[in-house]
């Protein structure tokens, strides 16, 4: 039986297990410190549990091959005279990690043992660390992650962790080992400076990532193939381009997907040459996609060779050129279509050189119809357009083309050519242009159209127009055509003559004739134009003042329609002055006749009426006439009085102002004097003011009295109106008549203040006149629920009973001639009626009269 001892520290427990199985060895691992008791780990060998033992206070026994030992099933005895101390073993151990360090820790991360050059690099004596907690030894930024990792390890697990310290990367391999006897876990920490290694690894990874990225993201399909073509690698863009995933293609041969027509071509032009190392140029071919359609690919190829020069791999990059290929096909189709169209259109299409004979490069079949020659005749040079041009047109054509080409612009000419086997000339309309390549004129191309028929039609129109113009010019009427903007666009000679005679205006096309006329005529014509432009067709006779007297023109306006739109107005004017004159004459005769008849009839009628009308009717008429006359007189009188009152008001009030305020100013001056006697001056001032105020009051009353306002809705203070009237009559009342006032405070009536003044004044004035010498006038104003009443009572001469009914008649008076015309009470009654009031008159001759005015209150 052979037993090999391995340094268990170097291997993970599972490896140890594997060794023990395969090598048929017993592995004995001792954990050693001075404090530890001798301990033996056991392991199985051939199904037996073996226990190895060591001597006390020894470290890990590291028994390299070749050492002799005895093993009695329980005790392992190393037969070497000199067994290795633990220290030595660790040194050996450390020797296998020349760049690193080994640390052994217990469950509490207490350092049990250290070794390796790593510590000396840090200038630490490993011995000093023994029995210290790792936390104290290691930097916190190293210890914390380590602790985390280590404590997470389960027995038998091993884990690598990279830690960076002072810019260096340390690879730390942590493993946990279980002491099966004590069930305690020990941790082994191997630390190695891998800064340089990591740096290189990182760089490598980055470059690989970049390369991958480019391949994976490339729009191109990138593949590697076996020399026979079989896919080895397919980039992901395959899915997008051909519909197959890389997995579906790898292991298959592209020849399975090529278009049958392209297989040989690919083999000969690309595959075989590339195997020979000829890889320049790309190849375009069709590739069947997963959906069965074909995609056009453009592929380039490169190869890799091994040391012996054998091709090991073919690399291909392919891109989708289906769109380009299709465009190419379409262009070919459209070229064919063009030819088809060119031969079928009703015009000649040509392409020729710009040489002396315009040598034809292309002509469509239509040339036969236009010129009578076959198009081969032109292409072969047997015939040239130069030979066919009308001699009169030829210089014009050549000049036109030359000039257009100089300016690099298209040309357009209309000319005649001689058609083979035909009489007369064929009219041709040509549209052409130069074709330039890099600025050089290469060809001329263009279209020739047969416009003979149109030309003939045009000639007919011209002839018709000439005839029409002759007719228009020969007439004696004015004919003109105005466009939408009132511009005169066409006119005949007569129009020009008349305009020159009457307006001294020279006509020309486009003249704004209406604008030049100005005045009322312009407005009239503008109206006509507008009606015409609105589509109205009408005749109007107008009076047109000229230096030779008024002319009468019959103007006919006709809208000019083009395609349903009014484009202008044609005007046809006839001088109908003579006609009009006779018409007027006729009318006058007719009117005269009518008048005569009417007069006769009227006379007869009047006589009839006279006969038929009775006396009563005559009287009625007379009364109406009188009433109208009276009102006329009154309103005229009042209007004059109003004017007078206004004037008087201003003219009197101003001097009154001088008097009143002149005095008060004077007093103020006097006040400054020492001898001024206030009390002596006071009475003077008072009477002056009193006089002025009274005069002003008269003026004011007069102005109220004569107020001329049509309104019937003024608020009239009845007492104030009566008082005003009394002021007016003051001169006649003063000293002989007592006025008694019985007023209810502030009785108001809606009405016309001025008119009420008149009405009351008339009654009061009559009362004053009725009192011969002394007497009394009493005025009562009162308001009841139903009405407002004013009662004027006097103790004058009274009214005779036979006259009472007549006092309201116009022009009835009992006054002596010159004292009154008898309209006063008529007007009063009218005014009261106007105010919806009633007048009752009571009188006993010799005792006086009583006028009761009642104004019913408005209900509601």
């Amino acid at each position: 039986m052979s037993i090999a001892f391995y340094n268990a520290l170097e291997y993970a427990p599972e490896q140890v297990e594997a060794f023990s199985q395969n090598l048929n060895a017993v592995l004995v691992v001792y954990h050693v410190t001075q404090k530890w008791q001798q301990r033996a780990n056991t392991t199985k060998l051939d199904g037996r549990v073996l226990t190895a033992s060591t001597r006390p206070q020894q470290g890990v026994y590291f028994i390299p091959e070749g050492y002799k030992y005895q093993y009695d099933g329980k005790i392992l005895t190393i037969l070497q005279e000199q067994s290795l101390t633990a220290e030595k073993q660790l040194k050996m151990l450390a020797g296998s990690y020349p760049q690193g360090s080994i640390t052994l820790m217990d469950e509490d991360l207490r350092i049990i043992y250290t070794a390796g050059e790593g510590y000396s690099d840090q200038e630490v004596d490993p011995e000093d660390l023994i029995d210290l907690s790792a936390e104290k030894v290691l930097m916190p930024e190293v210890f914390q992650p380590l602790k985390q990792h280590i404590l997470a390890l389960k027995p038998g697990q091993k884990q690598d962790i990279d830690l960076t310290l002072r810019g260096k990367t340390f690879q730390n391999t942590c493993s946990a080992v279980l002491d099966v006897d004590t069930r305690k876990i020990y941790y082994i920490l191997r630390s190695l400076d891998v800064t340089a290694k990591r740096f290189v690894q990182l760089a490598l990874q980055e470059s690989e990532a970049r390369y991958r990225y480019m391949i994976e993201r490339s729009r191109e399909l990138i593949c590697t193939h076996e020399p026979d073509g079989t896919y080895k690698y397919v980039s992901p863009s395959a899915t997008r381009l051909v519909g197959y995933t890389p997995g579906e293609l790898i292991g298959r041969n592209p020849y399975d997907f090529f278009h049958p027509d392209d297989i040989e071509y690919i083999r000969e032009s690309s595959h075989e040459p590339s195997l020979k190392g000829q890889t320049d140029g790309s190849i375009q071919y069709r590739f069947r996609r997963k959906d069965g359609t074909y995609i056009w690919l453009d592929s380039y190829t490169s190869i890799t060779k091994d040391d012996t020069g054998e091709v090991t791999s073919i690399l291909t990059g392919s891109r989708d050129i289906t769109a380009v290929k299709e465009a190419e096909l379409r262009w070919k189709e459209s070229e064919q279509r063009f030819r088809g169209i060119a031969d079928n259109i009703p015009g000649v299409i040509y392409l020729c050189l710009n040489d002396e004979r315009f040598s034809m490069q292309y002509l469509n079949q239509e040339i036969k119809n236009l010129s009578g020659y076959e198009h081969e005749d032109f292409l072969s040079g047997r015939v040239s357009f130069i030979d066919l041009y009308h001699p009169e047109d030829k210089p014009y054509i050549l000049a036109e083309v030359e000039e257009a080409l100089m300016r690099k612009e298209p040309f357009h000419c209309t000319y005649r050519i001689k058609k083979k086997g035909a009489e007369g000339w064929v009219w041709v309309d040509e549209y052409g242009q130069g074709i330039y390549e890099e600025g050089e004129l290469k060809y001329l191309e263009g279209v020739l159209l047969d416009i003979t028929e149109r030309k003939e039609a045009e000639a007919k129109i011209l002839e018709r127009e000439a005839n029409l113009e002759a007719i228009i010019e020969s007439t004696n009427s004015i004919i003109g055509l105005f466009d939408r903007e009132q511009r005169l666009v066409a006119y005949n000679k007569r129009f020009a003559e008349v305009t020159y005679q009457t307006e001294k205006l020279e006509l020309y096309k486009g003249i704004d004739l209406i604008g030049k006329l100005g005045g009322s005529m312009a407005g009239l014509f503008e109206g006509f134009q507008e009606r015409g432009l609105n589509g109205e067709k009408f005749n109007e006779t107008i009076e047109y003042p000229t230096s030779e007297g008024v002319k009468y023109y019959l103007c006919s306006h006709n809208p000019v329609f083009q395609k349903g739109e009014v484009t202008g107005v044609s005007v046809f004017v006839e001088d109908v002055t003579e006609l009009r004159k006779s018409q007027v004459e006729l009318e006058r005769y007719a009117t005269k006749l009518e008048q005569l008849v009417s007069e006769r009839t009227k006379e007869l009628h009047a006589k009839n009426t006279e006969l038929m009308a009775g006396n009563r009717e005559l009287e009625l008429t007379l009364n109406e006439l009188k009433s109208a006359q009276a009102q006329l007189i009154q309103s005229e009188k009042m209007a004059s009085l109003g004017m007078l009152a206004m004037g008087i008001g201003h003219e009197i009030n101003n001097p009154l102002n001088f008097i009143k305020n002149g005095c008060s100013g004077l007093v103020r001056e006097l006040e400054d004097l020492e001898c001024f006697d206030d009390q002596a001056v006071e009475p003077f001032l008072e009477i002056i003011n009193d006089g002025v105020d009274r005069a002003a009051e008269i003026v004011r009353s007069l102005s109220r009295f004569s107020r001329q306002v049509p309104s019937m809705s003024e608020t009239c203070q009845l007492e104030a109106i009566v008082d005003n009237c009394l002021v007016m009559l003051h001169a006649q009342i003063k000293g002989r008549i007592t006025v008694e006032k019985h007023y209810n405070d502030h009785v108001q009536l809606a009405g016309n203040e001025g008119k009420l003044h008149q009405a009351f004044l008339n009654i009061l004035s009559n009362a004053v006149q009725a009192i011969d010498r002394n007497g009394t006038i009493s005025v009562t104003i009162r308001e009841t629920e139903a009405s407002k009443e004013i009662i004027f009572e006097d103790d004058g001469v009274g009214i005779a009973p036979e006259n009472i009914d007549r006092i309201s008649d116009p022009f009835f008076t009992t006054k002596a001639p010159g004292k009154g015309i008898g309209i006063g009470l008529f007007i009063t009654f009218s005014i009261i009626k106007e105010h919806s009031g009633e007048v009752e008159v009571y009188s006993t001759p010799g005792k006086g009269a009583k006028f009761v005015l009642t104004f019913p209150n408005q209900i509601g």
Binding site: M646, H650, I652, F658, S664, V692
Partner: protein
């Protein structure tokens, strides 16, 4: 020196006698200036450095009446209080002017010194306050 030198009053009337009477009655109280026509008055308003507190104008004047004058002056000098002095008992034009707030009220001729004094002082207080 008038009692209220700061109250400047412009009186416009085409009759010199009216101007004289007005001045005679108010010069002890106010700083009175007068104009014989609306045009002169407008010119005076434009040129005067010290603007009047109150302008009182006669109604009936040749060329331009009082209301027309005030309409013109008020459009330029809105802060001045304007009044009409009229010899008429009644005039619709003046009523319209009152309704349009061109004038607060009007005085009749012959005028009442105390009434006008009160109104002027009121107007001055209103403007100052």
């Amino acid at each position: 020196m008038p009692q209220y030198p700061e109250i400047r009053v412009l009186y416009v009337d085409d009759e010199k006698d009216n101007l004289f009477v007005f001045q005679a009655n108010f010069q002890r109280k106010f700083n009175i200036i007068t104009a014989e026509s609306p045009l002169t008055a407008l010119k005076q308003l434009d040129e005067e450095r010290e603007r009047p507190v109150v302008v009182i104008s006669d109604m009936r004047m040749p060329k331009m009446n009082g209301v027309q004058f005030i309409k013109k002056a008020k459009s330029k000098y809105d802060d001045i209080s304007f009044f009409i002095m009229t010899g008429f008992g009644f005039n619709p034009e003046i009523e319209e002017a009152m309704e349009a707030n061109l004038i607060d009220r009007y005085f009749t001729k012959p005028f009442n010194v105390n009434e006008i004094e009160e109104v002027i002082i009121d107007a001055w207080k209103r403007q100052a306050g």
